[in-house]
Amino acid sequence: MHKILIVGEHDGKNLNPATAKCVHCAAGISGGEITIVVLGADTAAVAGQAAAIAGVKSVLRVDRPENQHPLAAIFAPQLVALATDFTHIFGPSTSFGKDLMPRVAALLGVPQVSDLMAVEGSHRFKRPTYAGNAIVTVEAEPARKLVATVRVASFEAAKGGGSATVESKSLSVALPSHTRYIGAKTGSTDRPDLQTAKRVVSGGRALGSAENFKLLFSFADKIGAAVGASRAAVDAGYAPNEMQVGQTGKIISPDIYIAIGISGAIQHLTGIKDARTIVAINKDGEAPIFEVADVGLVGDLFQIVPEFERLVGG
C-alpha cells in the first residue's frame, strides 16, 4: 500500500487551496492512503480545514513555537522524522513547497519530482521541462521514498465534506538556529488571489507605468478578476513581484486570462497554458501571444480597455 504524506501550506489562519490540489493529485495513485501534515505555532484551525478535504484519512499537527514561520531549515528535519511511516511525500509547487521539499528529499537521500503534472502510476509521473516545451515521463525506484512537488495548476482542488482524524504529534527533533525569520512585505488586496482566481487580467510592458496599471485594476474589479503581470512589467516596477505570471512567476489556470500589451514570450506562455480561454489584446497583429489566444483583438490597449470596461458593465 502507498502511504502519502502531503505537507499542508497555510498562513496560520487559512489552509492554502494548493493543499486540496495536492490531495486531488495524490488521489490519482491507486491504493494510496492520504495524510496531511500541518506545521505551525498553533495549527488547530488549519488542521480542521485539512480534515474536511475529501479523501484524506488523517491529519497530523506539529505545533511548536519554532514553526511560526515556514522556514525550510526548520521544517525539513521534522518532516524527515515523520517520513518514516510514508512511501510518498508531496508538497505544493508554490514558493513554500519549492523551497522546502528538495531539502527534505536530500536529507532522505532520495530524488524529487518537481512540478508533477500527471500521475501515470505509483512511481511514474509527467512533468514539464524547458519552460513547458518538453514534457517528460519519469519513473522512480519503488524501493525508495519519493518526494514531489505538485504543479497545482494541473489539478482541481479536491472537494470538501471529508472527516479525517486529527492527531497532534510531538517530535523530538533538534532544530537549527542558523536561520531566522525577520519579516515580510505582502500585498494585501481585496481582489481574488491570482493563483486560484477564475478570471485574470494581466498587463505587460506596454502599460508603461504603475499609474497606467490602474486601468487594469479598475477593469479587473469590474469583472471580479485577479491582476497579473509579465516579467517586463514587474522588472520595470509597474507591478509588484507577486503578480508575475510565467516560468519564474506563477503558473495559473483560470477560466479566462486576458493578456493586455503582452507579447507572449515562451517564458510567459508557460504560466498560462492551462487557462481555459486566453484573450489577447495587442497592437501588433504579429505578436506571438495571438498564436495561443482563443480570442484576439488587434489595437491600442489605452482605447480598448476603457471601452471593454464600459461594455461589460452594461
Partner: protein
C-alpha cells in the same frame, strides 16, 4: 568573508525554440546555442559585486558537464571570477548528484557563501541549491532579490508567492537567486583576453568520490499539447459578444 563559490550550469540558450525529437528520446541539441543558465549569471554577478565591495574576496566559479562547459566557465572568468573548476562528465547529472558534487567541492574550498541560480531553464527542477544546503547542513536562502552581508550573516530578501520575505542566515550559507537581484554585466573584449590566463582546473566525479547514478529514469519526452488556433475579432463590441456567448463574463 573570504571566498564565494558560484555554481554554473551550461544550458540551451533561453532564446532557442525547443524542439522535441520525433522518437521521444529528448530534445534536439545538435548545433543549438548553449549559454550560462540566466539565473546562474545573476548569481555570479552578485558574487562579483560583493567581491568588489570587499577586500581580498575570491570568487570561484564551478560547473559540472561535458568538456565544452569550459566555454561557459571562460565566460564566468571574463565576467570577473578569479578561477574556475570543471567537474567533467558526459553523464546526465540529476539535482541530488549535482548537490553531492558541489558538496565535495565545498569541502575542499570552504567557501563562506555558495550562490546558485534558483532553477536551471532546461530541467526547471529548482532543487540543487536546497539539496546542497541540506547535505552541507547549512542554511538556505532561496529566490533572493536582495542580499546584504554583515558580520558573518546574510540578510536575504526572498521573492515568495505572497510578496517579499526577509530572513537572516548565519554563514556559511547557500543562496539561490531570482531574476530581480541584479542585471549581469556585459563582458568586454579585454576581459575575454585576460580570462584566458586565469586558472581553470578540470576534475572528475571519481576524483571527488561521487557517482552519477540514475535516480529518476526518463521514460519519454514529448511536446506539450498544442492549443487550437483561435478567432480574431474586429472590435471590443464583438469581443464582449464572443465572451458573453462563452459564458465567461
Amino acid at each position: 568573508m573570504q571566498k564565494i563559490m558560484v555554481c554554473i550550469k551550461r544550458v540551451v540558450d533561453y532564446n532557442v525554440r525547443i524542439r522535441v525529437k520525433p522518437d521521444g528520446t529528448g530534445v534536439m541539441l545538435d548545433g543549438v546555442k548553449m549559454s550560462i543558465n540566466p539565473f546562474d549569471e545573476i548569481a555570479l554577478e552578485e558574487a562579483l559585486r560583493i567581491k568588489e565591495r570587499g577586500t581580498n574576496i575570491e570568487v570561484v566559479a564551478v560547473s559540472i558537464g561535458v568538456t565544452d562547459t569550459q566555454q561557459q566557465l571562460r565566460t564566468a572568468l571574463a565576467m570577473g571570477a578569479d578561477r574556475a573548476i570543471l567537474v567533467q562528465t558526459d553523464a546526465a547529472v540529476e539535482p541530488l548528484t549535482a548537490a553531492q558534487i558541489f558538496l565535495a567541492l565545498a569541502k575542499k574550498e570552504n567557501p563562506d557563501l555558495i550562490f546558485l541560480g534558483k532553477q536551471a531553464i532546461d530541467d526547471d527542477a529548482n532543487q540543487t541549491g536546497q539539496m546542497l544546503a541540506a547535505i552541507w547542513d547549512r542554511p538556505q536562502a532561496t529566490y533572493a532579490s536582495k542580499v546584504e552581508i554583515a558580520a558573518g550573516k546574510a540578510s536575504v530578501t526572498r521573492e515568495i508567492d505572497a510578496g517579499l520575505e526577509t530572513i537572516e542566515v548565519d554563514l556559511p550559507a547557500v543562496v539561490t537567486v531570482d531574476l530581480r537581484l541584479n542585471e549581469p554585466r556585459y563582458v568586454k573584449l579585454p576581459d575575454i583576453m585576460k580570462a584566458k590566463k586565469k586558472p581553470l582546473d578540470v576534475t572528475s566525479l571519481d576524483a571527488l568520490g561521487v557517482s552519477a547514478g540514475v535516480l529518476l529514469k526518463v521514460i519519454k519526452t514529448e511536446p506539450p499539447p498544442q492549443r487550437q488556433k483561435g478567432v480574431m475579432v474586429k472590435d471590443v463590441a464583438e469581443l464582449v459578444d464572443v465572451l458573453k456567448k462563452k459564458g465567461l463574463i
